[in-house]
Each structure stands twice: as structure tokens, then as C-alpha cells.
């Protein structure tokens, strides 16, 4: 996850090297935006649309950037959250996710999200989703990072891990039923 300009935060999953490439593009974009030095700045909506154009055009050339991107931000009191996939599918919503999160986390969010979540409640909700993902997504690791964007700016917290419970009887002696197997 990286802050972009003054108003946005970008998170990505997938190919990290492609994400780094995207960060280079965005760096240049924000640099030129700042060079105008005129009181106007690119907000999350503009950055999201720029990314959509980039991802879609790469997909059209059969050379995609292998990432799913999540972009959030606040500008002039307007909150924005959007996502772009590696083939350029794009939309905005109150909650978005990448990869397995779309299947495991979003149903939880659809049930439990509401307009007036406080920051702490939001974090708890996200931790609930991440725990489910940790248990069920084979590519998950027990480490997560929370980032917060408000009008004042971006704060990215330190990574931490979730408490999990693995003392299920089937896990105690996994090779019991098939000795010599994995």
C-alpha cells in the first residue's frame, strides 16, 4: 500500500514488480501535477480513472500489468473507493476487495457494512474478513496492515498478525489416516 499525492492511497495484490511499475507511473503523474503549482491537485477519482486507462490499455495490447488495485481517498470532504482489475474492469463501491477477498470478504461486508462505522469498528470488521481469508485462502499469510485516509492525510500503521485457533482435532495428527503421506 502506498499513499499517492495528498489525497489517495493505493493498495495492490498480484505481481509486486508490476505494482512497483505502476508506482513509478503514478509518481510521474503526481510530479507533473505538482509542477503546475496552481492550487489544483489530482484527487482519488482522477487517479482511479488514470489507472483504469493504463490497465485497460495494457490489456488491449495483450501485455497486462498483473495486479488488482484498490484506490481510496478523501478530497474536499468527498470519500472515494474504487478498484481496477488487471483486465481493466473498474467500479466504485463502499467496500472493495481483490482476488479471494471478493468471494470471502465481500459477503461479510455486504451484511455488516453501514454508513456510520467508526474507525475502530471498521478495523474490527476488516480483521474479521482477514481472519476468514487467513483460514481459507491458501496463499494468505498471518500479517496485515491497516491504513487510514482522512481529509488530513494518510496514516499507514505497522503490520501485525491476527490471533488464530488451529487446535482442531483433525489437525493434531494429520498423517493419521495415511501414514507416510504429507
Amino acid at each position: 500500500m502506498k499513499p499517492i499525492g495528498k489525497h489517495s492511497l493505493l493498495g495492490a495484490s498480484g505481481e509486486i514488480s508490476d505494482f512497483q511499475e505502476i508506482l513509478r507511473y503514478l509518481n510521474e503523474l503526481i510530479l507533473y501535477d505538482n509542477m503546475w503549482d496552481d492550487g489544483n491537485s489530482l484527487g482519488p477519482k482522477e487517479v482511479h480513472n488514470y489507472l483504469t486507462r493504463v490497465m485497460y490499455n495494457r490489456r488491449n495490447k495483450f501485455n497486462p500489468l498483473w495486479n488488482s488495485l484498490v484506490l481510496g481517498g478523501v478530497k474536499n470532504g468527498n470519500k472515494y473507493l474504487g478498484t481496477v482489475s488487471m483486465i481493466g474492469v473498474t467500479f466504485e463501491d463502499n467496500h472493495v476487495a481483490t482476488r479471494f477477498g471478493n468471494h470471502l470478504a465481500r459477503p461479510i461486508l455486504r451484511q455488516e457494512w453501514h454508513e456510520n462505522l467508526s474507525f475502530e469498528d471498521g478495523v474490527k470488521l476488516l480483521e474479521k474478513c482477514m481472519r476468514v481469508l487467513l483460514y481459507r485462502d491458501r496463499s494468505a499469510v498471518n500479517k496485515l496492515q491497516i491504513a487510514k485516509i482522512t481529509e488530513e492525510g494518510v496514516t499507514i500503521h505497522q503490520p501485525y498478525s491476527l490471533k488464530t485457533y488451529w487446535e482442531i482435532s483433525t489437525f493434531e495428527n494429520p498423517a493419521q489416516g495415511a501414514i507416510g503421506s504429507w
Binding site: 496552481d38 492550487g39 489544483n40 482522477e46 482511479h48 480513472n49 486507462r53
Partner: protein, 273 residues
């Protein structure tokens, strides 16, 4: 200005440090028929005097919509103005496509100015012979800019360009301090009064002027003749003190398409207005 040996090329400096071709281009702007612009905190109004080649022809289009939030009024070589409007429209559309968001006026104006500057530094080009009053809205409020053939641009509270614009400027100078908090209708009224100043005695009718407005919640659009005529009637009946002795508005209902162009200018450059 008199002819001299340094004015053949745009790329030749005079010993006094002047580029005469650029200054001559600015003269072309002064020959065009008047265009004025004024702004408040939330609205910008553009107005221009319609000029027709003859009684038989239609008048030149001098106000162009560039985007929902930007419009431009031109004075000088209308053809150059049309080309620059097309450039501006293109830039706005491209920006909107990439960023889903309106192009800030300030940036468009700088791009225009840089384009004009290029023509002052190439031996195979000539400067654009048109002055542009760019009116637009962005995050920081309402803006009015003037783009000069020299590549300079300035931001204004109110401005007038073209022939007999000095009269309008004098009127605007007297009143500009009140513009920032003016209502939209007062602003349009002031624009019409300023246009009237440039007509010097000719009756102000909706057929000889064009007015356009852009504001918060109001996309750029040109007011139709009827609305303009109603506003003219409204303030002429009230009888403002500052107005010079204008003839009573006899042709109140007559806003037909027929050109009642009245007196034409002497000494109008043949390359149009």
C-alpha cells in the same frame, strides 16, 4: 506604429528589445469587434458585439463553448479563434476521458499561452491574431483570463478587448469592486451595460450582442435572444444614471433573425472581426 526594418520577421528583435510582429498581432485584436468578460465569486459572464460583414450576411460567432465549465469569447481574426477553440475543446475532452474530471481552467490557459508562445519563436509561423477571454469554473472558484497573441495570460476580475473596448473598460473599472459579490443577474446586467458603452450611441438590442454565462450549478451556455432582450428592456426602463443618453428602446419586440446591424465601423480590417 510605423513600419521599420525590424518588423518583417517574427524572429527578429528590434534594438529596443521588441518583437514587432507580435505587437502587430496584438493590433489585430484591437481591430476586432468588442468582447467583454466579468466575474463574481460564483459566476462568469462573457459578452460580445455581433458584427456582420453586410446587412445580408449573418454575424460571426465569437463566443464558443469549450466544455460545460469553460467558455471563450474572442476578438481579432475569427478564423484563428475557431482553431484555438477546437484545440481547447480537444484538451478538455482528453483530460475528461483520462481523469473523469473537468480540466482546471488555469491549466488550459497555460497550455494555450504556451501554444501561442511557440508561434512567436519559429520563423515559419506567425502569431495567432486573436485575443481570447477564457471564462471558467474550477475547484478554486470562478475565473476570467485573457490570453494574448504574445503568449502572455492574465487573470482579471473584468476585462474588455476589441474596438472601442476602452469605453467598456472605463465602465468596468468604476464598478469592478462590487462584482465579487454580485448576483448572477446583476452580473449579466453589468455585462450588457459594458457592451452598450462600446456601441457609442447605437441602441442596444439583443440582435447586436451575444451574452453567455457559466457559474456554480450552471453549465456554460449562451443566453437566447429573448432572454437578453428582456434583460435589456428591464434595465433600460429602470433608467440607470451611469448610462449615457441612449435612444429609448423603440424596437422592443423585434428580435428577429434579420440583421439590424445599424452603422458599420469605418476602417474595419477586411480580414474580419
Amino acid at each position: 506604429m510605423f513600419r521599420n526594418q525590424y518588423d518583417t520577421d517574427v524572429t527578429t528583435w528590434s534594438p529596443a528589445g521588441r518583437l514587432f510582429q507580435v505587437e502587430y498581432a496584438m493590433e489585430a485584436v484591437k481591430q476586432g469587434s468588442a468582447a467583454i468578460g466579468l466575474r463574481s465569486k460564483t459566476h462568469v459572464v462573457l459578452g460580445c458585439v455581433n458584427k456582420a460583414n453586410s446587412e445580408l450576411s449573418s454575424h460571426q460567432k465569437k463566443i464558443f463553448k469549450v466544455d460545460d465549465h469553460i467558455g471563450v469569447a474572442i476578438a481579432g481574426l475569427t478564423a484563428d479563434g475557431r482553431v484555438l477553440s477546437r484545440y481547447m475543446r480537444n484538451e478538455c475532452i482528453n483530460y475528461n476521458f483520462t481523469y473523469e474530471s473537468p480540466l482546471p481552467v488555469g491549466r488550459l490557459v497555460v497550455q494555450l499561452a504556451d501554444k501561442a508562445q511557440v508561434c512567436t519563436q519559429r520563423s515559419w509561423k506567425r502569431p495567432y491574431g486573436v485575443g481570447l477571454l477564457v471564462a471558467g469554473l474550477d475547484e478554486s472558484g470562478a475565473h476570467l483570463y485573457y490570453n494574448c497573441p504574445s503568449g502572455n495570460y492574465f487573470e482579471y476580475q473584468a476585462f474588455a478587448i476589441g474596438s472601442r473596448s476602452q469605453a467598456a473598460k472605463t465602465y468596468l473599472e468604476r464598478r469592478f469592486e462590487n462584482f465579487a459579490d454580485s448576483s448572477r443577474d446583476d452580473l449579466v446586467k453589468d455585462a450588457l451595460m459594458a457592451i452598450r458603452e462600446t456601441l457609442q450611441g447605437e441602441t442596444l438590442k439583443s440582435s447586436i450582442c451575444t451574452v453567455a454565462v457559466v457559474g456554480v450549478g450552471e453549465p456554460f451556455h449562451i443566453l437566447d435572444q429573448e432572454t437578453v432582450q428582456q434583460m435589456i428592456n428591464a434595465f433600460e426602463i429602470v433608467g440607470e444614471q451611469e448610462a449615457p443618453a441612449a435612444e429609448p428602446d423603440a424596437a422592443a419586440g423585434q428580435e428577429a433573425a434579420a440583421e439590424q446591424g445599424g452603422s458599420t465601423d469605418e476602417g474595419v480590417a477586411p480580414m474580419d472581426i
